[in-house]
């Protein structure tokens, strides 16, 4: 089973900074739609092939502070989460504004489950 460390919204950047200074590599982030409860965002860090997973639970329409100023590599995955789930990140170093994959006319979030899709229809 996956061992995760809970994370709160205001710790996100501080934890990223701590790992960056500690020589950890950002493997990736994973956004999961958990229905009514909102989203879960996982931060996967790696050092010497040992992985650490942080779990951030947020309600829908929360703006998450971006860690891309710390880890430049996070910019693609944050833009991707914006495209797929509509999770907004503040201050991404290179913000595609939800159009990394999607065309400008697309308004529905393709990876979200029923609750969001209904609202937009």
């Amino acid at each position: 089973m996956l061992e995760t460390i809970p994370l709160s919204l205001d710790e996100v950047v501080a934890v990223a900074k701590e790992h960056f200074d500690g020589g950890w590599r950002l493997v990736t982030m994973t956004a999961v739609d958990v229905g009514e409860a909102g989203f879960e965002i996982f931060y996967h860090y790696d050092k010497d092939l040992v992985m650490k997973h942080y779990r951030l639970s947020i309600p829908k329409e929360t703006v998450v502070p971006s860690i891309s100023p710390v880890y430049f590599a996070a910019l693609l995955v944050e833009n991707e989460s914006r495209d797929q789930f509509g999770i907004c990140f503040s201050d991404i170093v290179l913000d595609f504004g939800g159009h990394l994959y999607l065309e400008a006319e697309v308004r529905a979030m393709p990876f979200c489950k029923v609750s969001v899709a209904q609202k937009q229809s």
Binding site: V27, V32, F72, L76
Partner: protein, 408 residues
């Protein structure tokens, strides 16, 4: 100085896949690079909500044609982790063999394309001729050439007979000899060095901070390879990553070339140490399901003979006749995955990560695929500024971009 914005891709002679870069150039020097993605986005991750978790094996294989076997391997290991299945040892070795053969053919493909990128077309054809031999091994042992479809949850669908193993070894000896003939050209040739040395330098610190993976990371002096985590049979085989220290395009090329030869050794070692036994385990999850699935990939014995025509100059020796008792490979999949898992394998392009979440239904709740090129694009954006426009194709190709992987 006047700045020009130059579109690079999505259609470009050097790019095998549609990557689009907006290059801001001053004279001949690139000052900024911005990527645009989305030309081959298919939303395969979303398909997990409609397809059965067993069917997803075939779907994740199609994320990327070149490393299909490793995608399936990573996915199956994740599901097995969630459902608590112990894969038979023989299946682990078989997975290793096919996975490494995939690495060989992917690296040979890349080495050819890379030679093509700096205009050495003859070398490109020579590498691809060797690759054809590896593709033949795939076809003979897996049933398909590229998307091999041998992994299933619980094990593998095909087995290798002793005769087949022997034939593979023979083929590998010939291929290795042919590759070694090309070694001096790709690694020591004046023109090749002129085009690659010192181009697109990624320093050791940068590589790690920007999250580079695979040959990109190892070319910059980090001895990190997901195979060290011991997935499949690597835990028993032992593994030492290949490292180069210069961090330029040449170092990445050298890493890939040496890894090709290393993979030959791993295949040989795995064949030599492969234990006898079952190739697929029965899968039983927490929830009982009344529809057991029988996997019997091998009803009548595989590969009796090879229909060889006299113009077929690639195969040196036809695989010998053989018979395998039917019904030796059987696995039942019962139950449904419930839980989360993160698995990593080393793809030819670098570390591949899967996050899998099942909620006790036959569909997965979330399948997240972090492919190596996805991780290698930020370093690419960091090394492009400052290089000459004429070097952009070589540098872009030196990360081995796979955009189908990236966008899924």
């Amino acid at each position: 100085m006047a700045r020009t914005i130059l579109p690079f891709g999505p259609q470009h002679p050097v790019l095998p896949e549609p990557l689009h870069l907006k290059l801001t150039i001053e004279d001949e020097i690139v000052v900024e690079a911005l990527p645009t993605l989305g030309y081959v986005h298919r939303g395969l991750e979303k398909l997990c909500e409609v397809r059965d978790f067993n069917q997803m094996v075939q779907i994740v294989e199609r994320v990327c044609g070149i490393c299909s076997c490793l995608h399936a391997l990573c996915y199956c290991e994740g599901i097995e982790q969630i459902m608590g299945v112990e894969v038979p040892r023989r299946a682990k070795y078989l997975r290793t063999i096919w996975g490494e053969l995939h690495r060989v053919h992917s690296h040979l493909l890349w080495l050819g394309l890379f030679a093509d990128a700096f205009g050495f077309e003859s070398l490109f054809m020579q590498f691809w001729r060797v690759r054809e031999r590896i593709m033949d091994i795939m076809e003979a042992t897996c049933g398909n050439r590229v998307v091999v479809s041998v992994n299933v949850v619980g094990g593998v669908r095909r087995d290798l007979s002793p005769e087949q193993c022997q034939w593979i070894e023979q083929q590998l000896i010939i291929s290795e000899k042919e590759i070694r003939q090309l070694q001096t050209t790709i690694l020591n040739d004046y023109t090749v060095k002129k085009r690659c040395c010192g181009k697109g330098v990624l320093t050791k610190e940068q590589a790690y901070q920007l999250g580079a993976v695979g040959p990109m990371l190892r070319g910059s002096g980090w001895a990190q390879d997901a195979r060290q985590t011991g997935y499949a049979a690597f835990g028993e085989l032992g593994f030492e990553p290949i490292v180069e220290y210069d961090g330029d395009s040449y170092a990445r090329c050298a890493v890939r070339f040496r890894e090709t030869l290393q993979s030959f050794d791993i295949v040989r070692l795995a064949i030599a140490r492969m234990p006898a036994g079952e190739t697929a385990a029965n899968v039983e999850g927490a929830n009982e399901d009344d529809t057991p699935r029988i996997i019997s990939g091998n009803r009548g014995g595989i590969m009796q003979s090879y229909n060889r025509d006299k113009h077929h100059s690639i195969t040196a020796a036809p695989p010998p006749d053989l018979d395998i008792p039917a019904g030796s490979l059987a696995a039942k999949v019962k139950g449904k995955p419930d839980g989360e898992a993160v698995t990593r394998v080393e793809q030819p392009r670098g570390e591949l990560m899967y996050y899998l979440k099942g909620v006790g239904s036959k569909n997965m709740d979330r399948v997240r695929i972090r492919t190596p090129t996805f991780a290698n694009i930020p370093p690419l954006l960091a090394i492009l500024p400052g290089c000459e426009l004429a070097d952009v194709p070589v540098i872009v190709l030196s990360i081995d971009p796979c955009i189908s992987c990236t966008e899924r």
